[in-house]
């Protein structure tokens, strides 16, 4: 896909129900803009996000995937984000090892009170993905060259 000035990335944001989804709601009610490229999927907890979902998003055309959850220590289920943190640390490290650009994946902890952080996070993430251009390396999960 040629990179044009009008190119818009597709960004999937997984947000936990208790903190980050509420943080996104607060960003909305505070009218804190971020690019429309971001589409949010609600999950009960960051620990619900399976690496499979992330790879699937890339396979189907996402250019960046971000996972937002409660701050460590504040998980509604007490421990969910700690597991999510280990899983995503390893998964992202593996993607890096495979030569996938680092800026396409991110984890950020956003509380229900951090509407500003939510909006700022999305702005900076989209900016980074835009700079990277369309996702090619994970866009086609087949390897045949």
């Amino acid at each position: 896909m040629p990179v044009t000035e009008n190119w818009k990335p597709t960004i999937v944001a997984f947000c936990c129900n208790w903190c980050s989804y509420a943080g996104a709601d607060l960003a909305g009610s505070s009218r804190l803009a971020y690019p429309a490229d971001v589409k949010i999927i609600k999950v009960p907890c960051s620990c619900r996000v399976n690496p499979m979902f992330i790879l699937r998003a890339f396979e189907k055309g996402a250019d960046g995937v971000i996972l937002c959850g409660c701050h460590p220590g504040d998980c509604h289920y007490s421990t969910g984000n700690y597991y999510a943190r280990r899983r995503m640390t390893l998964l992202f490290s593996m993607l890096d090892y495979l030569g996938v650009e680092d800026g396409r994946t991110r984890v950020e902890w956003v509380s229900a009170a951090e509407g500003v952080k939510f909006s700022e996070t999305m702005n900076s993430f989209v900016e980074k993905v835009r700079a990277l251009g369309p996702n090619v390396r994970l866009g086609d999960l087949r390897c045949k060259n």
């Binding site: 709601d25 960003a27 009610s29 699937r56 996402a62």
Partner: protein, 662 residues
């Protein structure tokens, strides 16, 4: 193919001004399975809901997508609407096109495109939604209140009056909390003990209240309606049933070194002690670290003098286990440590004190028997300086970012009382702002200034310097006059910030209740559910939730009690059906899921299965849906995909991903 209906809300102009709702309807009709789509100004209104009802009936809808505000706002509304009209409430999905779309985007085309994608994701998901049935669980009709201050006492009394049994767990030897340490209360200046003691007595004598003092919550398990709590009853070394409260033991005890906590360490107490005269229960405890008998084996004087034979040096901590339907946290506050505020010389001079220490000094039962005197030399102070906001409204990490709320009023109270009782003593108050919202509060403050001649100076104090002559030189500024002030004082009183009791972090962890960066417990909603914790069955009372004064605390205590009563009045509770479920033909029985479950909801059974003709015994994971809270941690540890989360299944989330990325 499921028959889906899509309903697009304008939310007045909130959505319609930025999203072309007609276009969303048009695009919805192109989606697979969508047999009905319409827009309406207010879907959540009576009229909007009746349109949904009509469509369910006329188009035989099997799934609904409402494109509207956040599901946190109206998901429950639309689910109930579906249920009333014969559709399972879990066959409703919300596409959040307000908070996540119209409110943050300005360009209509861009916002409309996004709204269409969010609608598609919701349609894709609802095709895979399973009709779920909420389970039921019984309610234990007994409540636990953690903390026996005014908040805990009031909550307990209100619950008990409604006919439910309440246990109060208090870690100190007596109930009463901070309020019992206060001398007078604003804005009426009635004596704190005079209004608190009757409530303490009422709680102690109430047939529905059990008080566990000198006790702490050790462990909490279970869930709303069915908590199991271990309470550690610390060894008191005094038999509660035998003690008559005569007090001779305290009089005779030779160990008089320990600092008196009740008097904020301003004087000493004996090793065996009741914290204050009106203590409830009026049964002393032995401070094991200071007791000569417990440390050396010699002494035993209290035992010798106790005519009731109540002393028992062999007593051990005891753990009792109780069942509760609801838990109220009322753990209160303490003042912050002043170690980081060297400029106020608090650790250097005995005559620099906190306001709570002043309360004890002013109190007839306090270390100076109520006489206002300097702790260094016992002289009556002639110049007193009050410094406001010590550690409150602080922008660095030495103090707290919030306003402690009560300081302006208690300082006005202190200033007024001193000027009233000691008219020749001058009082100066350094303040940033004087905040007096509250019934009769501003009138009270003005009386201090206008009738009692208290000198209020707007400005902060940079330094308090102890002088060789024993006085204190206060370096301040007067912002209104724009000048430096050097003031010699005999006593300096610091309006020290309050913070949640440090134990609350441990308790919040046990309860899986969330806590904010300042250690205040978080409400389920800051405005609409201020006395409930986000953890079902856990309620908040008093300063553990945020700074507040006595009337506010009592009001919140009552509100928490009402919520508890409402819960205990139910015979059965509906449980969240969005729980994990294991597919027994896919399960390996490997136990990984159980290792990450925070609720101990997963167990294993050896079960006969028929896997496409292969009949064998297998170890299979089984989820207790009453314990499962639906976080989904187990689903990701499961390599075979046997463990799935109802309402957020693997296939549902993949469908959303596909719809967004296509």
């Amino acid at each position: 193919m499921r028959r889906i209906g899509v309903f697009v809300c304008h939310c007045g102009s909130n959505i319609a001004a930025t999203v072309d709702v007609k276009k969303v309807v048009e695009m919805a009709l192109l989606e697979q399975g969508v047999v009905h789509a319409e827009d309406y100004p207010y879907m959540c209104s009576e009229a909007g809901q009746s349109r949904i009802a009509e469509a369910i009936r006329e188009k035989q809808l099997e799934g609904i997508v409402v494109c509207s505000c956040s599901p946190r706002m109206h998901e429950a509304t639309f689910r109930k609407c579906a249920e009333r009209n014969g559709l399972n409430p879990y066959l409703v999905e919300i596409a959040n096109i307000r908070e996540h779309c119209s409110w943050i985007h300005k360009d209509m085309q861009e916002a409309t495109e996004k709204a269409v994608i969010l609608m598609r994701a919701a349609v894709a998901k609802v095709h895979l939604n399973a009709p779920l049935l909420a389970g039921e669980s019984a309610v234990t009709k007994r409540a636990l209140v953690i903390g026996g201050g005014i908040a805990g006492i009031q909550t307990a009394l209100d619950i008990a009056d409604a006919g439910y049994h309440v246990d109060i767990v208090e870690k100190e030897p007596s109930i009463g909390g901070r309020m019992s340490q206060l001398d007078k209360t604003f804005p009426t200046l009635d004596c704190s003990a005079c209004i608190l003691t009757p409530k303490m007595v009422e709680a102690a004598s109430h047939e529905n209240i059990t008080i566990h003092t000198w006790s702490e919550v050790e462990k909490v398990s279970g869930f709303v309606g069915n908590f199991t709590v271990d309470i550690r009853k610390k060894a008191r070394y005094v038999n509660m049933d035998k003690c008559t409260g005569c007090g001779i033991c305290q009089e005779k005890c030779p160990s008089k070194k320990p600092l008196n906590e009740f008097n904020r360490g301003l004087n000493n107490r004996s090793a065996i002690y009741t914290p204050f005269a009106q203590a409830i229960p009026n049964v002393p405890v032995i401070d094991a670290s200071a007791c000569i008998k417990l440390n050396t084996g010699k002494c035993g004087i209290c035992e010798k003098f106790c005519q009731a034979g109540a002393i028992d040096y062999k007593q051990q901590d005891e753990i009792i286990t109780e069942q509760y339907g609801a838990i109220v946290v009322a753990t209160g506050f303490d003042t912050i440590k002043l170690d980081k505020y060297g400029e106020y010389a608090y650790n250097e001079s005995k005559d620099v004190i906190t306001s709570l220490e002043l309360e004890r000094i002013m109190n007839a039962a306090g270390p100076t028997k109520g006489h206002l005197e300097r702790l260094s030399d016992g002289k009556a102070p002639k110049e007193i300086v009050f410094i406001q906001c010590v550690g409150s409204r602080c922008s660095d990490d030495r103090g707290k970012p919030y306003c402690s709320k009560i300081c302006c009023m208690y300082t006005a109270k202190h200033a007024m009382l001193i000027r009233d009782k000691y008219p020749d003593t001058n009082v100066t108050v350094f303040y940033i702002d004087v905040r007096t919202p509250g019934k009769n509060f501003d009138e009270f403050y003005r009386r201090a200034v206008e009738d009692y001649g208290v000198n209020y100076v707007k400005g902060q104090v940079g330094k308090v310097a102890p002088q060789p002559d024993g006085s204190l030189l206060v370096h301040g500024v007067d912002l209104l006059e724009n000048k430096q002030i050097l003031k010699k004082a005999d006593m300096v009183v610091l309006a020290t910030a309050i913070e949640p009791n440090p134990d609350v972090r441990k308790i919040a962890t046990m309860l899986t209740a969330s806590i904010d960066t300042n250690n205040f417990l978080t409400e389920a909603h800051p405005k609409l559910r201020p006395v409930e914790s986000p953890t079902a069955g856990v309620f908040l009372s008093g300063v553990c939730q945020g700074p507040k004064d006595i009337p506010e605390t009592v009001a919140q205590a009552g509100a928490a009690a009402v919520k508890v009563i409402g819960l205990l009045a139910k015979d059965k509770l509906k449980t969240n059906p969005c729980t994990a479920k294991a597919d027994e033909l896919r399960c390996n029985g490997c136990s990984q899921c159980a290792n990450v479950c925070p609720y101990g909801a997963i167990s294993y059974e050896t079960k006969q299965v028929n896997d496409h003709g292969i009949r064998e015994e297998r170890r299979i994971a089984v989820v207790n849906s009453a314990l499962c809270q639906g976080c989904g941690a187990c689903t990701v540890t499961c390599p075979s995909g046997a463990m799935d989360l109802q309402g957020f299944s693997n296939r549902q989330i993949i469908a959303e991903v596909d719809a967004i990325c296509r």
